[in-house]
C-alpha cells in the first residue's frame, strides 16, 4: 500500500538521485577562495533584515548562512484559516540575506527529520545547476551546503524547486525569500551619486490557494500531503484565495506596522516568487526604484506604483516627507483589501503644510 507520504517521497527521491550526480567540484578554472575571510551571519525574520554594511569593507569574503526548513501549520488570516505551510527558517517569506557583489554566499540548508517532504533551494542570483536546485535537494534528516559567487548585484528571489508539480506547490506553500547583493560601493542614484538608507524592510508577497468546502468555507487538512490534490485544483484556476505580505493577512499592520520618521530614508525590498504584483505607497512615492531589482541599472525616479514581475524582487528607496499612517499595498486593490496585500507604515514627525493643507474642512455645499 502506497501512502500519500510515500508517494510524495517517491517523487523526491527520484529527483535526489539525479541531483546526487553533479555533487562534485567543477572543472572550470577556479580562484583560490580558501584564503578568503569568512563571516557568519545570523538571519532575522522579515520584515527585518540582519545588520550589514551598505558599502563593503575590504575585499570579497565568504558569507555563511544557515536555514532550517520547517513544515508547520500557519494561520494566514483572522478567520483562522490554516495553511500547511513549508517555510525557510520558519518564516514566510524566508529571511533576506545580504551580501556584496563578488562575495561568496555559502548556505547550509537543513531539512529536519520531523519534516515529511524533500526540499531544495533555487537562487535566482546564482549561476548554474538550476540556481543550485540540482545540488541542494535534501530529504528529511539531511542537510546540504552550497556556495555560489554573487556575480551580479541586485535583489533576487530564492525558492524551493524540488521538481515537477512539487515546484509550484512548495512555492505557494510559502517556500520563497530573497537575497540582496549590494554593489561593493553601495547604491547609486540615476546620476551615479551614492545613496544610503536609514532603514530597510523586506516584504515578501505570497499568493495562497486554499480549497473550500461545499459551503464555501476554507478547508483544513491534517498534513500538507492530504491537501495536495485539492490545492492543485485551486492553483490551476490561477485565482488565489489569499494575497498577503509576510505570510499572513495583517501581519504588517497594527502592532506590527513598520515604523519610520519624517526625514528617514527607507529601502523597501519586495519579492514575489510566483505572480506579478504592483507595490504602491499610499500618500508617498518611490524616489528611486529598481523595479527589476538589479542595481547595475539606474533606478527609475519618482514612481507612483512599481511592477514586480512574478519570480523577481525589486526595491524602492523613499524618504518620508510627511507624518501619518501610510498604507503600502499591492495596487490591485481587490488583492490589497479583499485578499490581504496591505501593510502599514507609522511615520512620526512634523506636518508640512506646504506639501498639503486642507484649505476648508467638509461642510454643506454652498447654496448662493
Amino acid at each position: 500500500m502506497f501512502t500519500r507520504r510515500e508517494a510524495l517521497f517517491g517523487v523526491a527521491i527520484g529527483a535526489a538521485a539525479v541531483a546526487a550526480m553533479p555533487a562534485f567540484s567543477a572543472t572550470a578554472p577556479q580562484a583560490d577562495i580558501s584564503a578568503l575571510p569568512r563571516e557568519k551571519i545570523k538571519l532575522v525574520a522579515p520584515p527585518f533584515v540582519h545588520p550589514h554594511d551598505q558599502v563593503a569593507k575590504g575585499g570579497p569574503k565568504i558569507v555563511e548562512f544557515t536555514m532550517t526548513i520547517e513544515e508547520k501549520p500557519v494561520v494566514i488570516d483572522s478567520d483562522g484559516t490554516t495553511l500547511n505551510a513549508m517555510t525557510y527558517n520558519g518564516s514566510i517569506p524566508g529571511p533576506l540575506m545580504v551580501v556584496h557583489q563578488d562575495d561568496y554566499l555559502e548556505l547550509t540548508l537543513i531539512n529536519p527529520d520531523t519534516n515529511s517532504l524533500a526540499h531544495n533551494i533555487d537562487f535566482h542570483a546564482a549561476t548554474g545547476a538550476l540556481g543550485g536546485g540540482e545540488l541542494t535537494l535534501i530529504n528529511p534528516g539531511e542537510q546540504v551546503t552550497l556556495r555560489f559567487k554573487a556575480t551580479r548585484s541586485g535583489t533576487f528571489v530564492y525558492h524551493c524547486a524540488p521538481g515537477g508539480a512539487m515546484i509550484p506547490w512548495h512555492v505557494v506553500s510559502g517556500m520563497s525569500g530573497a537575497i540582496m547583493v549590494l554593489p561593493r560601493d553601495g547604491l547609486r542614484n540615476d546620476k551615479g551619486e551614492p545613496v544610503k538608507y536609514d532603514k530597510i524592510f523586506y516584504i515578501g508577497e505570497n499568493d495562497f490557494y486554499v480549497p473550500r468546502d461545499e459551503k464555501g468555507n476554507f478547508k483544513n487538512y491534517e498534513s500538507a500531503g492530504d491537501g495536495y490534490d485539492d490545492i492543485v485544483k485551486v492553483m490551476r484556476g490561477l485565482i488565489p484565495t489569499h494575497v498577503v505580505f509576510n505570510g499572513k493577512v495583517g501581519s504588517l499592520t497594527g502592532d506590527n506596522a513598520m515604523k519610520a520618521k519624517v526625514g528617514e530614508t527607507v529601502l523597501i525590498v519586495h519579492s514575489q516568487a510566483n505572480r506579478d504584483t504592483r507595490p504602491h505607497l499610499i500618500g508617498g512615492h518611490g524616489d528611486y526604484v529598481w523595479e527589476q531589482g538589479k542595481f547595475a541599472n539606474p533606478p527609475a525616479k519618482d514612481l507612483e506604483t512599481w511592477f514586480i514581475r512574478g519570480g523577481s524582487a525589486g526595491s524602492a528607496l523613499y524618504t518620508f516627507l510627511q507624518p501619518g499612517v501610510y498604507a503600502y499595498v499591492n495596487h490591485n486593490l481587490i488583492e490589497a483589501v479583499e485578499l490581504g496585500a496591505t501593510a502599514h507604515f507609522m511615520v512620526e514627525g512634523e506636518w508640512n503644510d506646504d506639501l498639503m493643507t486642507q484649505v476648508e474642512a467638509p461642510k454643506p455645499i454652498a447654496t448662493n
Binding site: 468555507n217 497594527g254 510627511q322 501619518g324 483589501v337 507609522m346 461642510k363 454643506p364
Partner: protein, 289 residues
C-alpha cells in the same frame, strides 16, 4: 485593561432593571404566530455618552461631544441578540434575505452576516408576526442598555492644529492598544455573559446595528451650538467593542469598515419593542388597531 471599561467611569448609570421574568411576558402573546423574544424593560434614566458621528470645529476634527441623555420612558429591549433560528423564521416566511453566513454556527447563536437592511426587514416581519412594534434601538438607547459594556469612540486622540498626522497616529495606536484579537466565530447565546442590567452578550464578537445615521457636524468655534450638520443615512452606526460606521448594505464586518484598526468580527442586531400605550393595546388586543 478590558476594552469594556474604557468609558465606564464617565457613563453615569441611572438605570435599574425590571427582573427578566416579569418583563419577558409578551402582552399580546396569545395571538402571535411566534413567541415573543425575551426582553428586559429598563426604567427611565439617563446616560452621559459621546455622540456618534464626526465633529469638526474650526475645520479640525474634535473629540465627540459628551452629552447627557435623559430617557423619560422605559425601554423594552431584547435580552439577547436575534438568533440564527429566529432569523431563519423570517427567511422561511419569505420576508428576509438569507444571512450571508456560511460557517457552521449553533442555531441559538446570534444571527450574523446581516446588513442594516436585513435587520430592518426582520423588524418589520417580526412586528407583523407578533402584533407588536419592533425596531432597531437608536445609538443612545443601545448605549443606555449596554451600560458598563458600552465602549463608544476611541478617545485619548491627540488633536494638534499644526499636525493632523498626530491624530491619525494616536488613534491608530489607541486601536492597536486595545489589543483585540479577532474572534470570528459566533457563540451560543449568553456566551459573553450578562451586564448589570441583565442583558446578554453586549460587546462580544457581534456588533449590533442601530437606527442612528452617520452625521458630520460642524460645531461653533466657541463650542456653543452647531453651525451645520450633514447626515448620511446610507451609513448607520454599529455598536460593540468599539463604535463602527458601515454602509446599509454591508453584512460582513471585515469588509465594511474604513478604519485602519481591527474591524468588527460579525454584524448582528437586537430589537426594542415600542409601547403603543394602553388604549392602543386594548384596541390591538381586540384586533381593531
Amino acid at each position: 485593561m478590558s476594552p469594556f471599561i474604557l468609558k465606564v467611569a464617565s457613563v453615569a448609570m441611572a438605570a435599574a432593571t425590571v427582573p427578566m421574568g416579569l418583563a419577558a411576558i409578551g402582552w399580546s402573546g396569545h395571538r402571535q404566530s411566534h413567541p415573543a423574544a425575551m426582553t428586559v424593560t429598563l426604567v427611565p434614566g439617563s446616560i452621559t455618552y459621546p455622540l456618534p458621528g464626526e465633529f469638526l470645529s474650526d475645520g479640525r476634527p474634535q473629540a465627540n461631544p459628551r452629552l447627557r441623555r435623559q430617557f423619560n420612558k422605559s425601554i423594552e429591549i431584547m435580552a439577547y441578540q436575534v438568533s440564527v433560528s429566529d432569523y431563519a423564521n423570517c427567511v422561511a416566511a419569505g420576508a428576509c434575505q438569507p444571512a450571508q453566513e456560511t460557517r457552521a454556527i449553533p442555531s441559538n447563536a446570534p444571527v450574523t452576516g446581516v446588513s442594516y437592511l436585513d435587520a430592518n426587514a426582520y423588524a418589520q416581519w417580526y412586528s407583523k408576526a407578533t402584533g407588536d412594534d419592533w425596531r432597531l434601538p437608536s445609538d443612545e438607547e443601545w448605549a443606555f442598555a449596554a451600560a458598563e459594556r458600552f465602549a463608544g469612540e476611541f478617545e485619548g486622540v491627540e488633536n494638534d492644529a499644526n499636525n493632523p498626522a498626530r491624530r491619525w497616529l494616536s488613534s491608530y495606536k489607541a486601536e492597536v492598544d486595545l489589543n483585540r484579537k479577532p474572534d470570528p466565530l459566533p457563540k451560543g447565546r449568553g456566551s459573553f455573559g450578562f451586564n448589570s442590567l441583565g442583558l446578554a452578550d453586549f460587546s462580544g464578537n457581534v456588533w449590533e446595528w442601530t437606527s442612528t445615521c452617520y452625521i458630520r457636524t460642524t460645531l461653533a468655534a466657541d463650542g456653543n451650538g452647531v453651525v451645520s450638520s450633514v447626515d448620511n443615512c446610507g451609513v448607520h452606526v454599529l455598536e460593540g467593542l468599539h463604535r463602527a460606521y458601515m454602509s446599509n448594505f454591508v453584512s460582513d464586518g471585515k469588509s465594511g469598515g474604513c478604519a485602519v484598526g481591527t474591524p468588527p468580527d460579525n454584524l448582528g442586531f437586537r430589537l426594542v419593542r415600542d409601547h403603543r400605550g394602553w388604549a392602543n393595546r386594548i384596541l390591538g388586543y381586540l384586533g381593531i388597531a
